[in-house]
């Protein structure tokens, strides 16, 4: 089948732009909603077609308009298979987010402007779709910033809460910080004046001196890391993602942060190529920090969406572990092993996109049903919302890297990539890579705990609030997206060998290393030398058949089931107040890692005014303020404010003082003339 790819690409842009404009001028909220969804969906489908066409054939797709903004190099589009993978991710999540959003945003009808939202939603998709297609610096940055601006306004959708507003500002600040690092990062690589096409950068990067290459790398890591949300640049993520409407959160967590991964891969594996080992070491360190930090904060979180956001930080950390391992292996001249790392990172990128989208969309249903994001007020949702619960369970299991779902497959690959690092005969690698393995293992253990809590507390047992008891499934159209991503999560898990083979092909085309890694042997997921193998499909079949046999034989013997109250040590009636809470669940781990959390605790007892032994109430509050923010960001903001305060003092109001400045500036300028003689 041949597809006119440039037509599909232009149709994608047209779809988004039309969606944006029609939504903006729509006469009613309902029409605005419809236009938003139709525009976004048709754009996404067209984008998906473009991406799949490129992925299927493997040859690039180019579209250059040098006359638009000629001075900045024109608009240049080039889609290779790496870009196409990310475009496919953006568009598939975009498509279902658009469908889901149509019903989800119905809640806003009449309450706030859906026109503006529609404009920004489509602009967001347009920006995200263009980022992996960009083939010169200007186009890339344009798309990058478009994505940032649009998502900023999407985060601000529910702007009544001051939290959302603060989240928006944090987000904007961090994303702009990343942007200003990107700018010099790209430009340093430009070999000659005006040569800012990616082809030129590729040539320019290889000619750079080592120090400049390392500068480029460090800038890229910081810039793309801040977009990907790695610790310690993650501060915006747990604020911004929960504040946005759920399908936007899904887009942000599912794909937007992945574009940071895309950027890092593009710059490191494509432009820079092999670098010193410390690059990989740094990425490993950042990855470990994010994986562990993300999951630790996710664990103690009681806000369902924020928990998911922190889990995204964790997963980005896992992706970075794969990239880091690959970079280390590459620097030691082991490109074939490095491919396992890159492949694992890409696979986890795709997998995380699937299950995180699933989780956020399910959380959106919960939010609409239970009217809260606080898990302490949920419970028992599985009864009112069985489909959502099933979706959330699949997502949770995948996020906890449980076989046979997709999260397991990619984490297994990351493990294998890290293990191949241990073969390098360098003490720092020999210590570093097992540590990374340990971190990854601890991370997945904690992730399991986190998602037991997330699912168990929100969906199981008895409802902790009336709203939770009354929660029902949303309109069936919201299920299509859930179904699609649940299926993707399962299929990508079971057929991970084919998926990883596809990833290898992509990596191969970018890094131009020959593929001597056996990618997927049928149903087997293989390690670098093919000596370790695991088959998720076989595992699934085995587990299912054993369970079936067990079930069938017990059924055959026949047994009675009696429904009764939960045993309660002699209590009469079971109430929701008896249940373990979200905070209680995380308490043991919170205590164990108290050095990291540094919680503040407040304990107060109020007694009866007349009889001191009668206690009226006991209040216990504990709060975790992430100390990274305190230690890292507070000094910066305080410093900026201090400078601002002293700059303010310059404008003291006295015209004499002002004239004195002029006189002093004049003297200085005159004196500078001597200096230049």
């Amino acid at each position: 089948m041949t597809v006119d790819r440039s037509a599909a690409f232009l149709f994608m842009i047209a779809g988004y732009v039309a969606g944006a404009i029609v939504a903006l001028i729509a006469p009613s909220d309902r029409i605005a909603r419809g236009a938003t969804a139709i525009g976004a969906a048709s754009g996404s489908v067209a984008g998906l077609v473009t991406a799949l066409a490129v992925l299927a054939t493997g040859d690039r797709f180019e579209l250059v308009r040098p006359d638009m903004i000629a001075v900045a190099g024109g608009v240049a589009i080039q889609l290779d298979s790496l870009g196409a993978l990310f475009l496919a991710l953006v568009c598939s999540v975009g498509l279902f987010a658009a469908v889901y959003g149509f019903t989800y945003t119905a809640d806003y009808d009449g309450r706030r402007s859906l026109r503006f939202f529609g404009l920004m939603f489509n602009a967001f998709l347009l920006g995200m779709s263009l980022v992996p297609c960009a083939a010169n610096v200007f186009t890339f940055l344009f798309a990058w910033e478009l994505m940032a601006v649009a998502s900023y306004f999407l985060v601000m959708t529910e702007h009544e809460s001051s939290d959302a507003r603060a989240a928006g500002l944090w987000y904007a600040a961090m994303t702009h910080f990343g942007f200003v690092l990107l700018l010099p990062m790209f430009l340093i690589m430009a070999p000659a004046a005006g040569a800012t096409a990616f082809v030129d950068l590729r040539a320019g990067a290889s000619a750079l001196p080592p120090a400049a290459r390392s500068t480029v790398f460090a800038l890229a890591l910081a810039a793309f890391g801040s977009k990907a949300g790695v610790v310690p640049l993650h501060v915006w993520l747990p604020r911004a993602h929960p504040a946005a409407p759920s399908h936007v959160s899904a887009l942000m967590s599912g794909v937007m942060i992945k574009l940071g991964v895309y950027g890092l891969l593009r710059v490191t594996s494509d432009f820079l190529g092999t670098g010193p080992a410390w690059w990989g070491g740094l990425v490993l360190a950042v990855g470990s920090l994010s994986a562990l930090g993300g999951v630790l904060y996710a664990l103690t979180e009681n806000d369902l969406k924020r928990l998911l956001a922190y889990s995204s930080v964790e997963n980005v950390g896992v992706i970075f572990l794969g990239i880091g391992a690959a970079l280390v292996l590459q620097s030691y001249g082991l490109p074939a092993l490095a491919m396992v790392g890159f492949g694992a990172a890409l696979l986890h990128t795709v997998n995380h996109a699937c299950f995180k989208t699933l989780l956020f969309l399910a959380a959106g249903n919960v939010l609409r049903g239970a009217r809260t994001r606080n898990m302490e007020q949920m419970g028992g949702l599985i009864k009112g919302m069985p489909v959502t619960a099933m979706a959330f369970l699949i997502g949770s299991a995948a996020a906890a890297a449980l076989p046979p779902l997709n999260g397991f497959a990619s984490e297994w690959m990351v493990f294998q990539a890290l293990l191949s690092g241990a073969q390098i005969a360098k003490p720092e690698v020999a210590i570093g890579s097992p540590l990374a393995v340990g971190v990854l293992a601890l991370t997945s253990g904690l992730a399991a705990a986190t998602f037991v809590k997330a699912f168990g507390i929100s969906f199981l047992a008895m409802p902790r609030s009336d709203a939770a008891a009354a929660a029902r499934e949303p309109h069936w159209s919201a299920w299509t997206a859930l179904g699609a991503f649940a299926a993707a999560t399962v299929v990508l898990g079971l057929f991970a060998p084919s998926a990883i083979a596809a990833m290898y092909r992509i990596v191969e085309s970018v890094t131009a290393t020959p593929r001597n890694v056996t990618g997927g042997g049928g149903i087997w997921l293989l390690s670098a030398h093919g000596v370790a193998a695991v088959s998720p499909l076989l595992i699934a079949v085995l587990v299912a058949s054993v369970a079936f046999v067990a079930f069938a034989s017990i059924r055959a013997r026949g047994f009675d089931v009696r429904v009764a109250d939960t045993w309660g040590c002699g209590r009469i009636r079971q109430t929701a107040r008896m249940e373990y809470t979200s905070s209680a669940f995380a308490e043991p781990l919170r205590r164990i890692f108290s050095e990291l959390y540094r919680p503040t605790e407040d304990f107060s007892v109020s007694v009866h005014p007349e009889a001191r032994l009668i206690i009226r109430s006991i209040t216990y509050t504990t709060r975790i303020v992430p100390w990274i923010e305190k230690a890292l960001y507070e000094p910066v903001t305080r410093g900026a404010r201090a400078i601002a305060a002293s700059v303010r003092r310059l404008q003291a109001g006295s015209v004499h003082l002002y004239l004195l400045y002029i006189a002093a500036a004049l003297m200085a300028a005159l004196a500078s003339a001597w200096w230049f003689e």
């Binding site: 419970g379 599985i382 619960a389 369970l393 299991a397 076989p403 397991f408 297994w412 493990f415 294998q416 293990l419 241990a422 073969q423 097992p434 540590l435 393995v437 340990g438 293992a441 601890l442 253990g445 399991a448 705990a449 998602f451 037991v452 168990g456 969906f459 199981l460 047992a461 030398h529 370790a532 193998a533 695991v534 595992i539 587990v543 054993v546 369970a547 067990a550 079930f551 017990i554 013997r557 047994f559 009675d560 089931v561 009696r562 429904v563 009764a564 109250d565 939960t566 045993w567 929701a576 249940e579 373990y580 209680a584 669940f585 995380a586 308490e587 043991p588 781990l589 205590r591 164990i592």
Partner: protein, 313 residues
Amino acid sequence: MSRAIAILFQTLLAAGLAPLVGGFIRWVKARLNGRRGAPPWQPYYDIQKLLGKEAVVSRTASWIFRATPFVVFSTSLVVASFVPLVAAPAGRFIAGDLFAAVYLLLLGTFFLALAGLDTGSPFGGMGASREMTVVALTEPTVALSIVALALNAGSTSFSQIVSRTLAEPAAALGPGHLLAFAALFIVTLAETGRLPVDNPATHLELTMIHEAMVLEYSGPYLALVEWGASLKLFVFLALAVNLFMPWGIAVSLAPIPLAIGLVTFVVKIGVLATAIAVLETRVAKLRLFRVPELLSASFVLALLAVLSTFLAR
């Protein structure tokens, strides 16, 4: 094909022997305490009895609660199929490697914890919370022990590790190997709910972990959960003995080596089970918040194992 049969045989063997190990440990402990104790095969009676009883299910529980016993049992059994017991056939009929085994067991634990929460009982929640804490903390040790083994074998595959240890027995007695064994042993105690981490013989609310989680189970469901738990213990013991001391294991599928393999395996398991029983009579249960200390000690052991393996190479 004969390999597939061997695996099937081993798996059935595991399923059959697993309850016995728990019973045996209990019996040895009773003897050491000077009691007569129940016979080692008592667990078989228990399972038999439970399978015939009616199951009581909490009003608040959902399908998760009913599905969990099957998940726990089947994952444990599938993991048992990975592990070389009597024979260590190479090749691809084993669906997973060490990591897969660990994560598959985690799947069972995941559901068990959910089931604990599902009933709404405070005990269930408490057990789930504690179980997940312990599991999370043991993961890195398990992984590092795997790394230590894999460093030698160049693979995380069971058969590779076993055959490498058999080929180079000197390496097996190296410090790295022993340290890794120690680490894995501690983890085994923690993961399978033995003293000093958990006490399988108590129903005291302050100390329960695993028992609290499965408190609401009864009848056939409880049978499956218990059987699954004993399989897990069995798998861990088998891992410990066969990965670290694989001598005697059958590398070919001829009858004689298989017979030798069976006998040595039973003996090895018996020795290790006795060791656990002895240990359990000697130590007291740790406070929950002292458990991390033990587990971090095991982590350090595993790390040292990796380092010394590396240095020995």
